[in-house]
Symmetry: C2
Subunit: 168 residues, 2 copies
């Protein structure tokens, strides 16, 4: 127990901030040949359950790959800020008009020309299994040992970086 640790709740809250702030992620799926392929996606939300939401086209290759093998990865990188996030989770394609209305914004019209009425518009929900993030330590809040619910810190060679793991 050192001041390098965060509680699991604090780590989860920081994960949400990082994911929503970095926004663009690379979604990795396994294709039919076993290759790990990625493509950029814009993060809409990490909700109160930790699920991460995206829009996609129902008939896209990524939707088919996520349905064939639901194990997916999300990689977030802000190299300038040296902030990185890995989320390993399971994906499902969801058709939920109310959730789409909650998450849609006009900036998505470039991808979905009829907005929410685009025939094949759908949501991709990624439910995290584990997540890990790295960021510079400077400025972080030092927490009392009594607040710690779980030890989530690992040693890294460069101890000016914080590396936290979150389990769901």
């Amino acid at each position: 127990m050192t001041d390098d640790t965060m509680t699991q709740d604090d780590a989860a809250a920081r994960l949400k901030e990082l994911v929503e702030d970095i926004d663009f992620t690379m979604l990795t799926t396994q294709d039919a040949g076993g290759s790990l392929v990625s493509r950029p996606m814009s993060t809409r939300q990490m909700d109160e359950n930790g699920d991460i939401w995206f829009f996609l086209a129902d008939d896209s290759k990524k939707a088919r790959e996520a349905e064939a093998d639901s194990d997916v990865g999300l990689s977030y990188a802000d190299a300038k800020g040296m902030r990185f996030v890995s989320v390993a989770g399971t994906a499902s394609v969801v058709h939920d008009r109310a959730k789409m209305e909650e998450l849609y914004s006009p900036s998505l019209d470039i991808w979905f020309e009829d907005g929410l009425d685009t025939p094949d518009i759908a949501l991709l929900r990624v439910t995290p299994v584990t997540a890990e993030f790295w960021e510079p330590k400077h400025g972080k809040i030092v927490m009392a040992a009594g607040m710690l619910k779980a030890l989530v810190t690992k040693d890294t060679p460069d101890d000016t970086m914080r590396d936290e793991t979150v389990s769901f």
Copy 2:
């Protein structure tokens, strides 16, 4: 054949530029439980064969995962420049002192405290199987149809973005 296409050679050359310029990538491996986990890595080089080289510790979890399942993914994201690269490839851990001397720089001392004499220092070589990149089209060179060796462009909903696929 439109002016939206690049030759395979030009796409490969551009891929090398993007990979070396973005530098930090998220390396995705499949862990023992089937989860797709990532961690940040600094790209040392994309060589004349297209292989991408990194330093790592021989006994690290990522080295073990890459040896257990050599299918890996590399995700590069420069969200500010809207440049994204996905490389799907096969990884191997390589012990090659001459190659290490070629690629090592003092900036790596933070990870390898005895430099090239650190006991478990090794190279990770990722041999691409397929690669895909996305970047804004503005300013790109329009190529004559006669130069085209392969059609590497796909349609994207947003036609101000270039999306190229490179096969190895």
